[in-house]
């Protein structure tokens, strides 16, 4: 049966599901009784990938009866509605469910769980989700311990003023070391963990205690029902039938159907069509009062018209001050995306338009490349965001894509006194006109088992990092490094995983810009620069990377009828060179008995192979060569 989560009725379906027939909103569930504010608990779950956040959420939903057993069957991780989310164990969009829980004290509570995105790329979204709650469950795997990402998110939660309940998951596993992990929570995070809950989300052990702790240990929200409407825009997504659905947290006042609201950040005003809560299906309600988390629809056409973190108020008597922390989403990582088959360009444009409907943080504009033809220059919140978008384009829209080297935003000071920002090496001005180039830096936090520390440190040093801090927690080391972002966007995360056998965890935030000796390195194939392979790189790193890229290309460009030189160059200076050898012999010896059909079929195969290549001048470059050249490990 089609899942209610994919049909557009459940909130966080982040794009229209085109495969399903049209559905009318008749599956909206009847309203749940509203609760007094003292009986509301808004909470999120902070956890590392695989530590059991989604499974715990499943159990809470199950135990409070928000979904029937039948609905739960075969639906692990009900809150992760995208395939990619489920596969990677990450949450991309905020997801919400409202649970009714009859506690041991005899009262019925409304528990609103916001499942937050759990990755550094979405730190801002995480912050806004946390700002909508008063408390968090900190879920830590009792055998794995605290990871870098957990750390970052728990700090965000503390910053948001959360009450935090530590929960040790998977205590039933033989490798569980709850005492050690409790100590670690106290040492690393500075949280009192003596009354941490011991659970197994998988078996259901301790789930009742979790519900009781939410009710007894987390505070209820505060808010003034009589005040003017003040609400936080937590997230939004596009629904094919309802238009844009906005996830809101009411701070003060009441939100009602028919009310005229104003988005303070954008200044736009709308009339509210519907309000309601998440069961997790969209469930209409008469109103949303202070402390409530729910949704509104207001005939908003595009997600781009709503800004995560914006403040919603009454259009007729707006409040004066916005809620703090509002920031427009700014892409920090860029790359070009080109269709492998030039005929798919229009399909790519349409697919990007559809993704953008739901993800305003992703930007794109048309770009032309001599090597790759027509494509788009795209901006992303981070590397994971880039990968997710690329994967969704390929998977959901059946496109084959070539991605160019990821780039960051460089600030360039010209001798003329002008300043410009570029994120495409193609836009790099003449080096003679450049006074200085600045690049963005990050502060990275890495947690790793100590046997991999040496390799991790070497990786950071190789990537021009400056060590700021090195501490031990048991047998795990925590290092902090200042790193140039352009070294991180280039394969850093994969390398980190590889040198630590997957055990190191990583988190970062942008700090500031510093001047750097950056040069534009070009790759020349048959003496012509391939724009898609050029990049800005630190002078000290250029030669090594240039050589590695040339070697990789030599491996992957098939022999041609003539020798093909492959060079890396800075300006006019060649810093590395390889040669793809020419065919020596490529001729069918015997063409027998008039069977031309077989030869023609072989020729057709050859033609097919050529189609998968990019014709660049007189050289055919396979698409894998572009991808592999950009992934070389230097």
């Amino acid at each position: 049966m089609p899942s209610p989560f994919r049909g557009g009725m459940f909130g966080p379906v982040p794009w229209p599901n085109l495969a399903l027939p049209p559905r009318t909103p008749d599956v909206i569930w009847p309203a749940m009784a509203t609760a007094p504010i003292k009986n509301i608990r808004n909470f999120s779950i902070v956890a590392h990938i695989d530590h059991g956040k989604s499974t715990l959420a499943d159990r809470l939903i199950q135990l409070t009866g928000a979904m029937s057993e039948r609905e739960m069957v075969g639906r692990e991780q009900v809150l992760d509605s995208m395939d990619i989310e489920r596969e990677r164990g990450i949450t991309i969009k905020a997801q919400t469910v409202r649970l009714a829980y009859r506690a041991d004290d005899g009262e019925t509570y409304v528990l609103n769980l916001i499942d937050t995105p759990g990755h550094v790329d979405f730190a801002y979204e995480v912050n806004r989700s946390l700002a909508a709650c008063e408390g968090s469950l900190l879920v830590v795997d009792a055998s794995q311990g605290v990871e870098a990402q957990t750390l970052a998110n728990v700090y965000h939660a503390l910053d948001a003023g959360h009450e935090i309940v530590p929960v040790l998951n998977k205590v039933d596993l033989p490798a569980a070391e709850p005492d050690k992990v409790k100590q670690q929570i106290e040492d690393v995070i500075g949280l009192d963990a003596h009354d941490a809950l011991m659970i197994s989300a998988k078996t259901g052990l301790g789930i009742h205690e979790v519900l009781e702790a939410i009710v007894t240990r987390l505070p209820p929200p505060k808010g003034d029902r009589a005040a003017t409407l003040k609400a936080l825009l937590v997230d939004s997504w596009y629904d094919a039938y309802l238009g844009v659905v906005v996830l809101v947290r009411i701070v003060d006042g009441v939100l009602k159907k028919g009310q005229r609201i104003r988005m303070m950040g954008t200044g736009a005003s709308y009339e509210v069509d519907r309000v309601g809560t998440f069961s997790p299906k969209l469930t209409p309600a008469e109103e949303l009062g202070p402390g409530e988390i729910g949704f509104l629809t207001a005939s908003i056409k595009e997600v781009a018209d709503t800004r995560v973190g914006d403040t919603i108020t009454d259009d007729r008597k707006p409040i004066e001050h916005m809620l703090p922390g509002f920031k427009p989403a700014i892409p920090v990582v860029f790359c070009g995306l080109f269709p492998v088959d030039a005929a798919q360009f229009e399909d790519l444009r349409a697919a990007m338009g559809k993704l953008r409907l739901n993800d305003a943080s992703f930007s794109y504009e048309m770009e032309t490349s001599a090597a790759l033809g027509f494509g788009f220059r795209c901006g992303f919140l981070g590397l994971l965001h880039l990968e997710i978008i690329q994967e969704r384009l390929e998977r959901e829209f059946n496109l084959d894509l070539i991605a160019t080297a990821p780039s960051v935003i460089y600030k360039i000071k010209l001798r003329s006194g002008d300043e410009l920002q570029i994120h495409n090496p193609v836009d790099m001005p003449d080096p003679m006109a450049v006074l200085e180039i600045e690049e963005p830096w990050i502060e990275a936090t890495i947690l790793t088992p100590d046997e991999y520390l040496g390799s991790v440190l070497k990786l950071c040093q190789d990537r021009r990092g400056n060590q700021k801090e090195l501490t031990y927690v048991g047998n795990r080391a925590m290092v902090k490094y200042d790193l140039p972002l352009n070294e991180v966007v280039f394969d850093f995360y994969d390398r980190l995983k590889s040198v630590s056998k997957g055990y190191a965890s990583f988190d970062y935030h942008l700090t500031d810009y510093h001047a750097a000796d950056l040069v534009k390195m070009q790759i020349l194939v048959n003496a012509e620069p391939v724009d898609a392979l050029s990049m800005l790189v630190h002078r000290t790193r250029a030669e090594g990377r240039g050589r590695a890229m040339c070697e990789k290309l030599k491996e992957l460009i098939p022999p041609h009828m003539f020798q093909v030189p492959i060079q890396a160059a800075i300006g006019g200076k060649i810093i590395a060179r390889e040669t793809v050898r020419a065919f020596r012999k490529d001729v069918t010896a015997k063409c027998y008995g008039g069977d031309v059909t077989r030869k023609r079929k072989l020729l057709d195969k050859q033609k097919e192979g050529k189609k998968r290549m990019r014709q660049f001048g007189k050289v055919d470059i396979p698409q894998e060569a572009f991808i592999a050249a950009l992934k070389v490990d230097v």
């Binding site: 009828m561 065919f583 012999k585 001729v587």
Partner: protein, 387 residues
């Protein structure tokens, strides 16, 4: 359509005789070993029936060339060959100067039939000598010795005004010097024509499995190239220049039947697993018959023919085939005929690039031909022009 006016007028008939006494481990042709023997008359009658059925589709042709290939056609009795030639003559007109070829194994037994073949009408034989070195012959799975082959060549010389023989080179471990010496001996035995094929590892042959397992090592591309270059040099010096990638002849002594293929003419394919290109109502059809001899026989006896493929070719397909075949010849192709077949000219940019690197050249009669530098990489040149 401009097809008819631009066609080469020669018409050839290919007869496939699919039986062998043993399978050679490099061979991927349609050949079958039947230890219990076969009903030769019955097969010959089916061949005659298929000739009749084909002639009904393309009546009125004058047959310029006939080729008995295999398999091992020299396992046929001379009267079987005669019966088949009679059938061809009943349904079409055989040109007075027609070239009538038969492939033969150079064993002493088969050589005894040469006079009979000559009497039946065969005027050219092609002997599968393959090597003039006994250990090499053994490795290639051949059942004859070098001396036996030389004796068969002598008998062929006595019986036929024209004969040719095949050698396989670029064999495992073969050096350029050893090949030059072997080739020199072959040239001394040759009259007007030699076919010299580089050993190719074909899928689904015993050699393929050995090669995959690393137990059969053949010369790499560089060594293969050196052997190819040496072959061109030796043959040219002896007055047997290449007229096709692997075929060498004195001027005027080319195999006319094979030229029908390479010039992309019209030919009928008769017998199990035979291919044809027939012009029916000015449309070129690609035909192929059932490969398995007994199933082919059953089909012919039931339906009058063994066709399993009969496809009208598109213009693009014809254009590709024309390039694939025509560029194998040193005479090259007429670009006007390419345009007539495909409806578009050859890509001028690609032609210019290939001219620039010297892999093709234009002749005085405006033909486009592959140069000696281009022949060793012909497949890439064709792929470039066809893409």
């Amino acid at each position: 359509m401009f097809v008819a006016m631009s066609e080469s007028p020669a018409f050839g008939v290919y007869i496939h005789w699919p039986f062998c006494l043993s399978k050679c481990p490099y061979c991927d042709f349609n050949s079958h070993v039947r230890r219990g023997g076969i009903d030769e008359e019955r097969f010959a009658a089916a061949v005659a029936a298929e000739i009749a059925a084909t002639a009904a589709r393309i009546p009125g042709r004058t047959v310029d060339t006939i080729f008995f290939g295999g398999g091992t056609p020299s396992l046929m009795k001379p009267q079987t060959v005669g019966a088949i030639l009679d059938a061809i003559g009943r349904h079409w007109t055989i040109a007075p100067a027609a070239e009538i070829n038969l492939e033969a194994n150079p064993t002493s037994v088969e050589a005894t039939r040469f006079a009979g073949y000559r009497a039946a009408g065969v005027n050219r034989v092609s002997l599968g000598v393959q090597a003039l070195d006994d250990p090499a012959l053994k490795n290639l799975g051949r059942t004859h010795t070098a001396d036996e082959a030389l004796a068969a060549i002598a008998i062929a010389r006595k019986n036929f005004e024209r004969y040719s023989f095949d050698l396989i080179y670029a064999r495992p471990g073969q050096t350029v010097a050893a090949w030059r010496a072997e080739l020199a001996r072959a040239i001394a035995e040759a009259a007007e024509h030699l076919s010299l094929y580089q050993l190719t590892i074909e899928p689904e042959t015993p050699f393929y499995a050995l090669h995959e397992a690393g137990k059969l090592v053949i010369p790499d591309d560089d060594a293969g190239r050196a052997l190819f270059d040496a072959t061109q040099e030796e043959c040219a010096r002896a007055g047997l220049p290449a007229y096709e990638v692997s075929n060498h002849a004195r001027t005027g002594a080319e195999c006319r039947h094979n030229l029908v293929y390479w010039r992309y003419g019209e030919y009928a394919g008769i017998g199990p697993g035979a291919h044809g290109r027939l012009l029916i109502d000015r449309v070129r059809h690609a035909t192929a018959t059932e490969k398995n001899p007994e199933q082919w026989l059953a089909r012919v006896e039931t339906h009058g023919h063994g066709l399993v493929v009969d496809d009208a070719l598109t213009r693009d397909e014809q254009a590709d085939e024309f390039l694939l075949m025509g560029l194998r010849l040193t005479e090259g192709i007429d670009p006007a005929r390419f345009q007539a077949l495909s409806g578009r000219p050859l890509d001028p940019g690609r032609v210019a690039d290939l001219l620039g690197v010297g892999f093709v050249e234009k002749t005085r009669d405006k033909h486009l031909r592959v140069t000696p530098a281009g022949f060793p990489i012909l497949d890439a040149v064709v792929a470039d022009l066809a893409a």
